[in-house]
Amino acid sequence: MSEMFEPQIVAFCCKYCAYAAADLAGSMRLSYPSNVKIIQVPCTGRVDIIHLLRAFEDGADGVYVAG
């Protein structure tokens, strides 16, 4: 079962750093797992408790903030 399991992961990324880093990873042709779904935010300070909880409520297996 665990081999089959493909987690759904939500990543809240700051437009000015982590999202730009993801962009850079793309231009560098670095691959990263497609399980991670990126949501760009204008600032990680915009990420509120409710956004993180809603992700879990709606089925995310993992959630992270990057920035």
Binding site: I50, L53, F56
Partner: protein, 222 residues
């Protein structure tokens, strides 16, 4: 304002354990200002309860509604059309809220989601401190605006006591001794003699000791 703290999720989950559909009722008054029961916190509690019940395999339907205030019959009416759509209503207002709701809607059950703690204010963002005990007979004019009833651990009116050391109270090294503050302020102002004044005994009948209180202002009543 009235300050409150949210109850643990465990306790709230226990209250609603036999429910399939609930309403969480927030309040735009004091509990919004002290960040415990406003629209935002209603959303957070709703989400947390839904996650918990989904995990248990017993999903909970949760609606959210934040009332203008819950301590006013006029605003309590804001749920008149929907109150009986639910198995129970969880109020995030202070202890007044669930009671006003309960009186207005006798057929419904109302649960508190917060512990109402004290009358106070924010000393910095995210930190609240008690300032008033609501004793009904204010005496802080004797003490330059500082209240020994609310802020002295013993509520003594002729302090400081022997437990005051270096400006702190003996019950907690982080708690300022209000009597130390009162005496220092009087000394700074050169009015220490004020404290020698003989005062009539404080009337405690206006505090909770006299039973539940009521305030009537004839000019406002119908």
């Amino acid at each position: 304002m009235i300050v409150a703290d949210r109850k643990s999720l465990d306790e709230i989950l226990w209250m609603v354990s036999d429910c399939n559909k609930i309403l969480i009722a927030g309040c735009k008054g004091c509990v919004t200002v002290c960040n415990v029961g406003g629209m935002k916190e209603v959303g957070i509690l709703a989400s947390a309860l839904k996650i918990a019940r989904k995990k248990e395999g017993k999903p909970l339907e949760v609606d959210e509604k934040t009332l203008e205030r819950q301590c006013d019959p006029e605003y309590v009416e804001q749920i008149r059309d929907i109150y009986d759509d639910y198995d129970a209503v969880v109020s995030m207002a202070c202890g007044v809220g669930p009671q006003f709701l309960s009186e207005a809607y006798p057929s419904q059950r109302f649960f508190p989601a917060v512990n109402t703690t004290f009358f106070g204010g924010a000393t910095e963002h995210g930190i609240w401190e008690e300032r008033c005990a609501g004793c009904g007979t204010c005496i802080i004019h004797y003490y330059d605006g500082m209240c020994p009833i609310a802020r002295c651990s013993k509520s003594i009116q002729h302090g400081p006591c022997g437990g005051s050391a270096r400006g702190k109270c003996e019950i907690n090294a982080e708690l300022d001794c209000i009597w130390d503050m009162i005496v220092k302020k009087k000394m700074e102002q050169g009015r220490l003699d004020d404290l020698l004044m003989v005062k009539a005994a404080k009337d405690w009948r206006t505090a909770r000791d006299g039973g539940p209180r009521k305030s009537i202002r004839e000019e406002l009543t119908k």
